[in-house]
């Protein structure tokens, strides 16, 4: 039933009451259209249903409706029906283009403005997942696709064509930074080193210290003199404690104590082994007392079955470290 202006004493017929009831329940009389249409004042409170095979429009103009008036719009036909703002303003969060069997309510907030509450049904994503652990990714054309869970230890990577994600077994071999310690004191020790890696890489960068230029030295397992081994430039054995200076330099010039232009790496193989000896090598590039670009290399073995769980760095004469850092990496 279209919007009415009732008068005092007017008697409503049964048909009018039925129509009003339908309108109150969200239904109401429907005017079927088969071609583009311009809303008129009599459409207030009614349903306008478009039924056309081709595209059509329903135009909304000003001066026809009052604030609070509503027009329900439906599209029954195969052709898209577009609600078009003629001289009035039409706002919506959704779309004003209605596909077949879509619709919505046009609610007027004034005689020149309306809001279209779109109740059209958008097509949701079809869930491609079937199995626990599945993930969804966008395949070609943004189509949802299923990626089944990988196997234990696999990691998510991009496939060789760079077109989709995939689960792959990571390449063996890796290096993990275990600690970074600022050098300080007469020695700097990293203790309780994780024993789960194959090899241990120790780097010392930009070491600086007081007093005098000097050689440098690494120690392992400094916490116990019985397990203490010092890296030397001759054979390294647990029994030659205190008998060999063996400090690390190129044998020509000491490391310059200031400036910190030095870098030293020490690699200990099988550092966590408890049933066999270990080997190591170390190299250093440094600024000498008078010349730059000094190079020193040191290699040898630890004649001990004791696992190495601490590494210390110090200046040979025990000078106080004033800068630089020591990093420990576990290598697999």
């Amino acid at each position: 039933m279209a919007k009415q202006t009732f008068t005092t004493g007017q008697v409503l017929t049964a048909a009018q009451m039925t129509s009003l009831q339908q309108t109150a329940m969200g239904g109401g009389s429907t005017t079927a259209k088969t071609a583009s249409y311009v809303l008129v004042a009599a459409d207030a409170g009614t349903t306008v249903a478009m039924n056309a095979a081709g595209s059509t429009t329903i135009t909304v103009n000003t001066g026809l409706f009052s604030a609070g008036d509503t027009v329900f719009i439906q599209n029954w036909g195969a052709g898209t029906c577009t609600i078009t703002a003629g001289t009035a303003t039409v706002s919506t969060h959704g779309s004003l283009a209605l596909s077949q069997y879509e619709g919505g309510q046009l609610y007027f907030t004034s005689s020149s403005a309306a809001i279209f509450f779109d109740i059209s049904q958008s097509t949701g994503m079809t869930n491609p997942m079937t199995t626990t652990g599945d993930t969804i990714y966008s395949s070609s054309g943004s189509t949802p696709a299923r990626l089944g869970i990988g196997t234990a230890g696999q990691v998510l990577t991009v496939n060789s064509g760079a077109t989709a994600p995939e689960w792959t077994t990571p390449a063996s071999g890796s290096m993990t930074l275990l600690s970074t310690t600022t050098l300080s004191g007469a020695a700097t020790t990293v203790s309780s080193i994780n024993q789960t890696y194959k090899d241990l890489l120790v780097t010392v960068s930009n070491a600086a210290w007081n007093t005098s230029d000097d050689a440098i030295a690494f120690y392992t397992n400094l916490t116990s003199v019985t397990s203490f081994v010092r890296l030397t430039n001759t054979a390294v054995q647990a029994t030659n404690l205190n008998t060999n200076i063996g400090d690390f330099s190129d044998g020509v010039e000491n490391y310059k104590r200031t400036g910190g232009n030095n870098f030293t790496s020490l690699l200990i193989q099988d550092y966590a082994a408890t049933t066999r000896y270990k080997t190591f090598y170390a190299y250093s590039i440094y600024e000498g007392s008078t010349n730059n670009g000094r190079r020193a290399c040191l290699f040898g073995g630890f004649a001990s079955n004791t696992a190495i769980n601490s590494v210390s760095f110090r200046i040979s004469s025990g000078y106080t470290l004033t800068g630089g850092s020591m990093r420990i990496y576990g290598v697999n």
């Binding site: 004191g185 007469a186 700097t188 210390s312 106080t320």
Partner: protein, 72 residues
């Protein structure tokens, strides 16, 4: 522990992520002193060797390069 004026060392515990600056313990200090002595002895030995070499060259009246040439 009473203060002993021993050198301070830094110990980083990789397991607990704890950094401690402390004096050397007995074991470490013993090793430190032994290293100092060994280092000093080695330096003294190197200096003595250099001194003996210089004196020999002076007695022979030749330079170091000339000595190398003789041995080449």
């Amino acid at each position: 522990m009473a203060k002993t004026n021993r050198p301070i060392i830094r110990v980083y515990n990789s397991e607990t992520d704890e950094v401690i600056d402390r004096e050397m313990n007995d074991t470490e200090f013993a090793q430190y002193e032994a290293d100092q002595a060994a280092r000093a002895a080695a330096q003294a030995k190197a200096e003595a060797k250099a001194q003996a070499k210089a004196e020999l060259l002076q007695r022979l009246g030749i330079t170091e390069d000339e000595a190398r040439l003789l041995l080449a």
